[in-house]
């Protein structure tokens, strides 16, 4: 087939990139080779627009065993235990086919974790939809939630936490990010680096079909009106087969048969084989006629680019084939030696002994393009927002408005569709600030949470970037965990647009500053660009997934109030920042101003002090204050426990809305047994913590003295109704 300009364009390659290919090959590529270049050089696989910025992120730390660059990050949680985790986007496929898109997103991230030798122990997700009134939203929400549940429930890994948000910026481009967390022993971590020449390259798992051919390039292109018409063959997930693959892989990993292992994710056989060879600085030769195929007459091009799910590539030690084959046969999975490692440093593709394609590995990997794209700084918006001009609103009305809004409604409609309990180590299920998963057979646990704040990031990206790291950090603190490391999924618009690239660069700058200060390194992540339609880009939506350690599970903390007549203390200073707040958005439809500032020094001090109080067993419950401010945090603590509160009006004369709805950062509410109050206050003072005594807990009523008094059951009903009526 002659390579025309049209074909090059259809492969998402720019003219200069094609010239570069010709130069690297010293000839024209054939069609198969072109397909392979296009798969490896697209944004999704090559990170060509993001790399120069990503390398600024802090990736080292005393707990880090493996930072970015492998299938997933690995941290040391003491004893001989290691935690493996990563987050990944599946935005584009989920918009086209929500159930399968979300399901295969979960399947993909699980493979990233168990390829490294870890048994997955928890799933999380961050999902963003368009406006609830948009005609597509309901169907997408339904499909995505049942897809996430469908996969996780079937394979038997609990889905324990996440976030769900609605905003019109996602009307035509939803976000579906899935995170998986696994556990392994420190001496049982598997990597993707090939070693040795003449070693068997083995294909295991499902057969290859014509699924999602060019999925990776699709994820790297903007949608236009025709995308829905084009409807590329979507991948269908098969969680049952994945369960078998998981068990078979873990069984084979018990000894040292495996030299290297890599799942077939985006760009399937191509990227898995190239990555293993590239990391080992070796060549690889594949005999494509051996690839197990689902359909007749599949071409080498289709085999190399298929994104069929539930497949892996393994490089085996000499003489281990029989042993390995037996295991995969036991689990009824395909097991075929399809090639070998070579010293040629080339990817050689043969079909019935004819060479169909031959490309130097470095041309596909290290020599893939890298762009330092132009970007512009975000300008500080000048118009100062004048709070005095707003119509008066009653505290109670504003509270109810927020609690009944889609973004703040109780998420049990979603979380009840996920099996959160399977594996019987879920100490804290969805509904609190972070989920807690016990390490099997031990008295320690990890806490996990995912967070994003697209509004903040849009209005001022560098502050937004800092804020999400801090919010995520706080969520772990609030359940008594020491935050250890994060993974991140960077969902942005078109990087060829200077403003978007600016949002990207500045968000990363913010993330970096916060991570460095909090000693909270990034160990894995994923970038998803081109989220937008017809030049409309989504708000910058970096998502942070954090993991923390709970050394001893004597008393897990959550945000449910524990008893009557205990004291409530607000940690951190309240200034009443309403810019970009949920109060303005839900009550006045105003989206204005700067996001709240982050003071990293206070952030760290507040968090560490709370952690110490928890360790001393002085805290009954804790909740961080985020979107919606103090009053929302208090009402959540009340609703989850059905215990009321009686809050005094602030002593200083101030605007009540600012006080109760302000979104100042670095704050928490903690519940303290009265008998410990003196000790706690003393501790707070010696640690230089700013705090306010808020009031006490009481039966039945959510009360702000002299302002409002509501039955908690009514509050709860209002908070629950939105999803059930949608």
């Amino acid at each position: 087939m002659k390579i025309t300009n049209k074909i090059i364009e259809n492969h998402g390659l720019k003219k200069e990139e094609y010239k570069n290919i010709q130069k690297l090959l010293k000839r024209d590529p054939n069609f198969l080779e072109l397909g392979i270049f296009s798969a490896m050089w697209n944004e999704h696989c090559s990170y060509k627009s993001s790399r120069v910025h990503l390398k600024n992120l802090p990736t080292q730390g005393k707990h880090v065993i493996q930072g970015p660059g492998e299938n997933a990050g690995v941290i040391d949680i003491g004893d001989d235990d290691a935690i493996v985790f990563k987050i990944e986007s599946h935005n584009h496929p989920s918009f086209i086919e929500p159930y399968q898109g979300a399901a295969t997103g979960v399947g993909g991230i699980l493979r990233d974790v168990f390829t490294m030798g870890a048994r997955p122990i928890a799933l999380l997700n961050s999902i963003h939809f368009g406006s609830p009134t948009h005609p597509k939203t309901k169907n997408l929400l339904n499909g995505v939630v049942s897809g996430i549940g469908g996969y996780g429930n079937c394979i038997g890994i609990p889905t324990v936490a996440g976030e769900t948000k609605f905003h019109e910026t996602y009307n035509e481009n939803i976000l579906v990010n899935a995170m998986a967390v696994g556990h392994t022993k420190k001496n049982k971590i598997f990597y993707s680096k090939a070693k040795g020449i003449g070693k068997s390259v083995v294909y295991v798992g499902s057969k290859t079909g014509r699924d999602g051919i060019h999925g990776a390039s699709m994820a790297s292109a903007e949608f236009d009106e025709n995308s829905e018409e084009k409807k590329p063959t979507v991948q269908v997930g098969d969680p049952f087969t994945e369960k078998l693959l998981l068990e078979a892989c873990l069984e084979l990993m018990k000894d040292d048969s495996i030299i290297a292992i890599q799942d077939m994710g985006a760009a399937g056989l191509t990227s898995s084989s190239v990555e293993m060879a590239s990391k080992g600085d070796l060549g690889i030769e594949l005999n494509l006629e051996k690839v197990p195929c689902r359909e007749n007459n599949m071409t080498p091009y289709e085999m190399m680019l298929s994104e069929s799910q539930e497949r892996m590539l393994i490089i085996l030690e000499d003489g281990k084939e029989q042993h390995a084959r037996k295991i995969f046969q036991k689990w009824d999975l395909n097991f075929v030696v399809i090639g070998k490692t070579t010293n040629s440093k080339n990817l050689v593709l043969k079909y019935d002994n004819n060479i169909e394609g031959e490309i130097p590995i470095d041309a596909l990997a290290s020599k893939a393009p890298i762009y330092n794209r132009k970007w512009v700084k975000k300008k500080v918006s000048k118009n100062k927002f004048d709070f005095k001009k707003l119509k008066k609103i009653k505290l109670e009305d504003a509270l109810l408005k927020i609690l009944s809004s889609p973004n703040h409604s109780n998420k049990s409609w979603i979380t009840n569709q996920y099996d959160q309990m399977v594996m019987c180590d879920t100490v804290q299920r969805s509904g609190s600030d972070a989920a807690i998963i016990r390490i099997h057979n031990k008295d320690k646990a990890i806490a996990v949470s995912v967070d994003s704040s697209a509004n903040y990031c849009k209005s001022f990206p560098s502050t937004g970037g800092k804020q999400i790291v801090c919010e995520n950090w706080r969520n772990l603190i609030a359940v008594g965990a020491k935050p250890v490391a994060i993974t991140n999924c960077l969902n942005f618009g078109n990087p060829e647009n200077e403003k978007i690239m600016g949002e990207f660069a500045e968000c990363i700058q913010g993330i970096k500053e916060a991570c460095e200060f909090l000693d909270y390194p990034v160990v894995s992540g994923n970038v998803s660009f081109y989220n937008g339609t017809n030049n409309k880009n989504i708000y910058p939506t970096p998502v942070i997934g954090g993991v923390g350690i709970i050394e001893k599970l004597s008393r897990p903390i959550n945000h449910n109030l524990k008893k009557i007549k205990s004291s409530l203390i607000l940690i951190g200073k309240t200034f009443g920042h309403l810019g970009q707040s949920c109060f303005l958005k839900e009550n006045y439809s105003i989206i204005e101003g700067m996001p709240p500032e982050i003071n990293l020094v206070n952030e760290k001090n507040n968090g560490e002090t709370i952690l110490n109080l928890i360790k001393k067993n002085l805290v009954l419950s804790a909740h961080d204050i985020s979107s919606g401010g103090l009053i929302i945090a208090l009402s959540e603590m009340s609703m989850s426990s059905k215990i009321g509160v009686k809050i005094e009006k602030p002593k200083m004369l101030r605007n009540l809305n600012e006080y109760f709805f302000g979104e100042d950062q670095g704050r928490y509410v903690i519940e303290i047994d009265q008998k410990n109050l003196v000790e706690v206050e003393k501790f707070l003072k010696t640690n230089n913590i700013y705090y306010d005594n808020l009031g006490i807990t009481q039966p039945k009523y959510f009360e702000i003295e002299g302002e409002m008094k509501l039955d908690i059951n009514d509050l709860f009903k209002i908070n629950e109704q939105w999803y059930n009526n949608y």
């Binding site: 086209i96 086919e97 159930y99 399968q100 499902s206 079909g209 014509r210 699924d211 409807k231 063959t233 979507v234 991948q235 269908v236 098969d238 049952f240 087969t241 689902r294 359909e295 069929s308 799910q309 009824d332």
Partner: protein
């Protein structure tokens, strides 16, 4: 009275069936497992099984064309995922 009413209703009702099948090339995990099981149960002469959905729909109309049009709408609105499935309508 009641019977008469029911008879009237019956008269103005048409029955359709819809079969929904996965598009060619789309993975059918169910069919795969069912085929394996049957082969293991000794049914070796089976070559392939694909699983789909089946609906019986009663529509209030006397006009077959109109009925078909409505069933088509039902299919495209809800029953069928056009991205991975095909469907066929039959008058019963």
């Amino acid at each position: 009275m009641e019977r008469q009413f029911q008879l009237n209703l019956k008269k103005s009702k048409l029955k359709f069936s819809v079969t929904v099948t996965l598009k060619k090339d789309v993975l059918d995990p169910q069919g795969k497992v069912v085929l394996n099981t049957l082969t293991n149960l000794g049914m070796t002469s089976l070559q392939n099984i694909r699983q789909g959905k089946f609906f019986e729909i009663d529509i209030e109309t006397k006009d077959q064309l109109e009925g078909e049009k409505k069933v088509k709408e039902v299919c495209e609105k809800l029953l069928v995922n056009l991205i991975i499935e095909d469907y066929k309508i039959n008058k019963l």
